[in-house]
């Protein structure tokens, strides 16, 4: 505080600071006007219209009414919610467990971190194609490995009951980002807190609950929110898994029904994409976009609150 006051720049400089900031920020301000503010307003506008790229017709609330008649939109919302409720916790718990284990090792930490992080770099499309093959019951090794321990594996990506759990396994395999973040957070927890806790007779679980969790909670919160938002926009892996497992293409002329098997992988962003850019019901796609926006904002608000708080503290 004292040093800042001491080195304070001249006041004329200070007064012009707002104007200079505006100059520096102007390209970005133009950017969010074109690619964020305008599109949001336009999305609301289009949601009351029928639009197929050629004709624009005002239809009032028809798109919104159609929402309640469209079974697929509810299926897709359920699927997306499934990902938020099951895939996100699975990733978080797995990543935290792995990070806990690795940070306790005395040696080889760097090497193991590399091994664990590597899969998260595999391009999403490549990773998904690989998993569909690996978990294919007739050609892949996964069910053979399960057979060794006496488990008859299902037709993972071909069975509506197992397709989302299969993608969850893929998500756990590629959550190296999260593991690295958790490792850094765990290593940041001051050692003396654990020593104090163990002198007080706290067992490992108690130490985790009373020392580790509170200390890493800011990192945990940030990771959770980003994972939830990521689950809400889950698109690529679900679409690739459907395509590769069903063997269909999405090229012009061919009919591709997203969500194979049996719409179990039809997520909300996928149905939105399909309605808007394959069926060209752009007005209806905008209705779904607004649903997605509402869901994303719900979680973003939590994050915003935290950052606003952090700003006030600093």
């Amino acid at each position: 505080m004292a040093s800042r006051a001491h080195a304070a720049p001249p006041s004329r400089w200070r007064r012009s600071e707002g104007l200079r900031a505006l100059v520096w920020l102007s390209p970005w301000l133009v950017g969010i006007s074109i690619f964020f503010v305008y599109p949001l307003v336009a999305t609301v506008y289009f949601s009351f219209h029928r639009y197929d790229l050629f004709t624009l017709e005002f239809i009032g609330l028809d798109n919104w009414r159609y929402l309640f008649k469209d079974d697929r939109v509810w299926t897709s919302i359920q699927n997306t919610l499934w990902l938020v409720v099951f895939m996100v916790p699975a990733q978080l718990i797995f990543a935290l467990g792995v990070a806990q284990l690795i940070t306790r090792l005395k040696s080889g930490l760097g090497l193991i971190r590399t091994i664990v992080y590597l899969p998260s770099l595999v391009p999403m499309v490549a990773g998904t194609v690989a998993f569909v093959f690996l978990m294919n019951p007739s050609t892949g090794p996964w069910n053979q490995l399960l057979a060794l321990v006496g488990i008859t594996g299902p037709d993972w990506f071909g069975n509506p009951a197992w397709s989302k759990p299969s993608l969850t396994l893929l998500a756990m395999w590629s959550c190296g980002n999260m593991i690295v973040i958790f490792m850094a957070a765990l290593l940041d927890v001051p050692k003396h807190l654990y020593e104090a806790a163990s002198i007080d007779g706290a067992n490992a679980w108690r130490q985790f609950r009373s020392v580790t969790l509170p200390m890493i909670s800011p990192v945990l919160l940030f990771s959770t929110i980003t994972a939830v938002i990521y689950a809400l926009q889950y698109f690529t892996q679900a679409m690739i898994a459907s395509r590769v497992a069903s063997g269909s293409t999405d090229s012009a002329g061919s009919v591709f029904t997203p969500g194979y098997p049996d719409q179990s992988l039809l997520t909300l962003p996928q149905w939105l994409f399909h309605a808007g850019f394959r069926d060209f019901s752009m007005g209806y796609a905008c209705v779904m976009a607004l649903l997605l926006f509402a869901a994303a904002m719900l979680f973003t608000t939590v994050l915003l609150r935290r950052f606003r708080y952090a700003e006030e503290v600093s």
Binding site: W24, I34, M124, A126, T139, D250, L303
Partner: protein, 295 residues
């Protein structure tokens, strides 16, 4: 008083059965390392199986065998012969390289202003960065697509590259988080010395922010390299204009009985990413840590 009395008592109790404690410690050590080794195998195994399958013959890849009878290295050449892999790689590289350059050019100044200038609305601007960063791209897809359609730029990758000239939320966020950790004294001193904002940015901020800039560049490059949603929306139906992820996504459909070639293609798409990672491992790990901990 009782606390100081019980602590030495417990320590004595532990010392009383050193054998049991040591055995427990050994068992724990073995368990920890066994789990770690299994874990490493789990993370590596999928890539190994992909590699083994990529080297099998067409027929063998359709069986449940795991080890190639013959090592068919020519499968990799076959992937090049049967697809436009070279063209896709070029397109992907052009997309990733241009988008990354533009992102750095546009995002560094914004992050600098957000981290260093004191102005009304600064907090609001930062919250806006987080909001746009968290916005699923599908939310604004329709109107944004229509903008590019008006300029006749759909069926190309330009709609994915050009917006990067106006800043990328995630990059701004990451850079800003790093720049606020640079002590104000440095920039204040530069100002007292009569440095302009531009000169301060180049002489003081940029040299200090090199790790963060490297991380942002790598993340952006990889994001583009791996991007599927963007090219799917804009690259069009002509294979000449596709990226690697678009090509790989349809590869299986066009070569449906050739899992070996599909796996070879998968490896070829993955390989550059792995190579870059090993060259710049430190930047990655530091960058990832920055996204989570300082966030």
């Amino acid at each position: 008083m009782s606390a100081t009395a019980t602590a030495p008592a417990r320590r004595r109790a532990v010392r009383a059965r050193p054998a049991a404690g040591a055995r427990r410690k050994t068992l724990l050590w073995i368990a920890k390392h066994a789990i770690t080794i299994v874990l490493c195998i789990i993370f590596i195994a999928p890539l190994v199986f992909v590699f083994l399958t990529a080297l099998m013959t067409d027929e063998q890849a359709l069986t449940s065998e795991l080890w190639p009878q013959t090592w068919n290295w020519s499968n990799f050449a076959a992937v090049f012969a049967k697809s436009k892999l070279v063209q896709w790689t070029l397109n992907t590289f052009l997309y990733a390289a241009l988008a990354t350059t533009f992102t750095l050019l546009s995002s560094i100044p914004v992050a600098y202003a957000l981290a260093r200038f004191r102005f009304r609305g600064r907090k609001l601007a930062f919250l806006l960065v987080i909001t746009t960063m968290m916005l699923p791209p599908q939310v604004v897809a329709v109107p944004v697509y229509l903008i590019w359609a008006r300029f006749d730029l759909t069926d190309s990758l330009w709609p994915l590259i050009l917006p990067m000239l106006l800043g990328d939320a995630f990059s701004i966020f990451l850079l800003r988080q790093f720049l606020v950790t640079i002590p104000r004294d440095y920039t204040d001193a530069a100002r007292v010395d009569g440095c302009s904002d531009v000169k301060t940015l180049f002489k003081v901020i940029l040299p200090m922010a090199r790790p963060a800039i490297a991380a942002v560049a790598l993340f952006q490059f990889f994001y583009c390299w791996n991007d599927y949603y963007g090219p799917l929306l804009y690259a069009g139906v002509d294979q000449e204009g596709w990226t690697l992820s678009l090509g790989l996504a349809t590869f299986k459909a066009f070569h449906s009985v050739q899992w070996n070639l599909t796996m070879a293609a998968t490896l070829l798409v993955t390989a550059p990413v792995i190579v870059i990672f090993f060259l710049a491992q430190k930047v990655f790990i530091e960058g990832v840590t920055l996204t989570g901990v300082k966030g």
